[in-house]
Symmetry: C2
Subunit: 469 residues, 2 copies
């Protein structure tokens, strides 16, 4: 892979029109931050129906931004949250890029752990804090601002662009998938660019060539038809919380290998070059633990932390609930209990197949004293992107120009389900060009984003449009 | 035991003054129900600080009721909820009974499962529905109304009475215990009468000779210092919910024997006559399952359901919580998770000893990837009451007169911690004279109480005062 990279690493400085574009970026540094602040004020939480109108308002705001640049933009209604679509096209351009992002954000609870309100963006030094700062408002906005720099400095964009900014990435992208299926012609392009991942570390830009997939399910265990007095009944009927715990405890063995029958059947082992590359990256478990606050690394025996996060599948509990949770105590056998589970998948695991295996396993191990319901919530396939196509080679150059250092090749443990849809529906490869950091608290309180990386990202994308023309 | 009982079963009908008392009871049947309705309107939930004033208001109401009968009554302030104390005394009476009850009630959630608001008492046929109907407002009120029937019909009470009606039974009775310790002389008596248990079944009155004890604890498991993105971090750090589930799953083996080291060390095995008596009682697991809605009996191998509920210890989960519980999903590794646990104890288990063993066990089995905190919340010893003392023999007669049928001797799976305090502090035996039913939903939505048993209870207690003089 090093050979593939080295021959494309030709250096160059912007000249002519490009100078004007870069000048515009430098001159408008503060305006761009103001644009980001405006966007981050929308509480566009897609998972919670209470915020449905805020999600719509945010979509309209994004549409207005496109229109202010002179792009043709529309807010496309769906059965769920709307999609913002925009286009730039010049007949003489050879290539068309489809740029994908999402304007919806994760829920904010536990709210009490935020230092500042999550939708009142707050800057400290080089960092901006707000829900959505890194995931994904700050990152997709970079592309719009690079376009602005071209067009407002009077410079022709060397590529045609199609923007697809959706509002359901944090739920399941179901309606975007329908939109893509229904609009194959409209979305025709030469490749997809997504900025929704992280750099390898501060000052180490990265190209992400692999993503984990995901499969989600909820388990509900029901015992008695009401909460029972734990004194009068305790010992003679199964306790749904205990039975749920007994199910969860069987998801892993003592070496944290997932015990679902057939779970690893389709897992592709890491290749030698990947093991070597991962091992060569600057990485320290102590720093990792400091950044998470966990007291020890933990996971599947026989793998390093990077391998566990990037290239091994998981079975993770996202939430559990049942019985009395209030102040004091309540001496009951709860009537029911539930848990939310997501499994991260790696090539070539298939989410539907894994959910079937999950369901069969849970049913097999459930105590006869309770009833169990498994709600399969779908998922997304894992992905490996080609590392020698025109977008990857071009982005190696653009990243080096934007950040002054060569990018590394990494995988990402998270899932961008839509990458698979682009492959399956449009036949397109996706370039994953992340400007965030892993400690940006993407799904946690005090989400943040580096303003200098925001700025370098805009310069990088400016070069990317040149390199990919 | 049958011999002990048979020789005391002398039958008798009320004559002279007793006729007047009984006439008063019959004449005031509806007034007594109205008294119960008034009492049930108070939302005296002791576990929830939001109801503190309602608890006080309820205490004042109970005090007024005593005063309306001509008893000296007081509301005794404590560090928690107040105690209502009242006395009746005539120098010529030989014996003094201490009658204990509690005017506080369990929380009402899940509120949505109540057919009517829990503090708006509602009568359907012979049944009154409200939080506290059976546990314990309806039951302790029986004793006050029996006193009313004597005194308002102009009849001398043949025993002296001391009433102790507390407001913290559903939390821990901590302040009542202090009150008793501080008032040994004031509370001097010949025995304690408590109506806070159930009859064996409809039309089968019972004397409860055994109670389980209780030991309560909360476990908190902490992993990362914040919720982490389950994609970016999943697989490399321990998940606190998974680890908590792995702890809970180890509380029992496959035969549902509790695995806490030394848990059964002090358990007294059932005697032969107890096994025979339990086996002789009308009991059907099918009916038990119908009443609970559970699909199968479940519990410690080698014991019947009655033995499991009455005479075997348990380790029960009352509630569990951690991570995302809202609508939709949230792809996180939760920062922490917790669970509320109560263990029901049998003679001669000691709650402090059991909590020490619980703590040691949980610490021993917790994964090194998380930290665990065990909050020990105290408990109460189990109890066996003497079955041949004057109160038991007298109540056999009173129950037969009140209900027209001989009582059976049973145990109760629940805990009345204060029974132990009476034994240890005052040296007194406690008569457990229950008028409720096991399906009264004592700690569940739609708590209820039979109005005919309420009425028969008043007649029974009328006779009891005669028999115990």
């Amino acid at each position: 892979m090093r050979n593939v990279l080295s021959h494309v690493l030709r250096m160059g400085l912007p000249g002519g029109d490009m100078e004007n574009v870069q000048k515009y970026i430098e001159a408008n540094k503060q305006n761009f931050v103001n644009d980001l602040i405006e966007l981050l004020k929308y509480p566009s939480i897609s998972a919670d129906p209470a915020y449905a109108q805020d999600v719509i308002n945010c979509a309209e705001h994004v549409k207005s931004k496109f229109e202010s640049l002179g792009l043709k933009a529309e807010v496309h209604k769906t059965a769920g949250h709307p999609i913002v679509y925009a286009e730039y096209s010049q007949p003489e351009n050879k290539r068309t890029l489809l740029i994908y992002g999402h304007y919806d954000v994760q829920p904010v609870d536990p709210l009490e752990l935020w230092n500042k309100p999550p939708f009142e963006p707050h800057i400290e030094g080089d960092t901006i804090y707000a829900r959505g700062a890194t995931d994904d408002k700050g990152q997709f906005l970079i592309h719009l601002l690079a376009v602005e720099a071209y067009l407002k400095s009077g410079t022709k964009l060397p590529v045609n662009l199609k923007f697809l900014i959706e509002g359901e990435e944090e739920t399941a992208s179901d309606n975007l998938e329908i939109f893509i299926k229904d609009n194959h012609d409209k979305l025709k392009a030469d490749g997809v660019v997504v900025s929704d991942t992280a750099m390898y570390a501060k000052s180490i830009p990265a190209i992400t060539y692999g993503l984990r997939g995901i499969a989600a399910a909820e388990i509900k265990v029901t015992g008695p038809n009401r909460d029972l007095h734990s004194g009068s009944f305790g010992g003679a009927v199964a306790n749904p919380v205990t039975e749920l715990a007994r199910i969860i405890a069987r998801f892993h063995d003592k070496d944290y290998r997932v015990q679902i029958d057939g779970f690893y059947d389709d897992v592709r082992d890491l290749e030698k070059w990947e093991q070597e590359m991962f091992a060569s990256l600057p990485y320290d478990d102590k720093e990792f633990l400091q950044s998470t606050g966990s007291i020890a690394v933990s996971g599947e025996k026989g793998f390093t932390s990077l391998e566990r996060k990037w290239a091994r599948p998981t079975c993770e509990i996202n939430g559990i609930y049942g019985g009395y949770q209030g102040e004091g105590g309540k001496t009951i056998i709860p009537s029911w209990a539930g848990t939310k589970v997501t499994m991260r998948l790696v090539p070539e695991q298939d989410p539907d197949d894994i959910l079937d295996k999950f369901e069969a396993f849970v049913k097999k191990i459930t105590s006869p004293g309770v009833t169990v319901e498994i709600i399969k919530q779908g998922g997304a396939r894992p992905a490996i992107v080609e590392r020698n196509n025109f977008m990857v080679t071009g982005s190696v150059i653009a990243l080096e120009k934007g950040f002054g250092t060569k990018p590394v090749f990494i995988r990402e443990g998270g899932s961008i389900p839509i990458v698979n849809v682009f492959r399956q529906e449009l036949g397109l490869d996706t370039l994953l060009l992340g400007f965030g950091q892993h400690d940006d608290n993407a799904h946690s309180p005090n989400e943040k984003f580096s303003l200098s990386d925001f700025h370098k990202g805009i310069i990088t994308v400016m070069h990317l449009f040149q390199e990919l023309q």
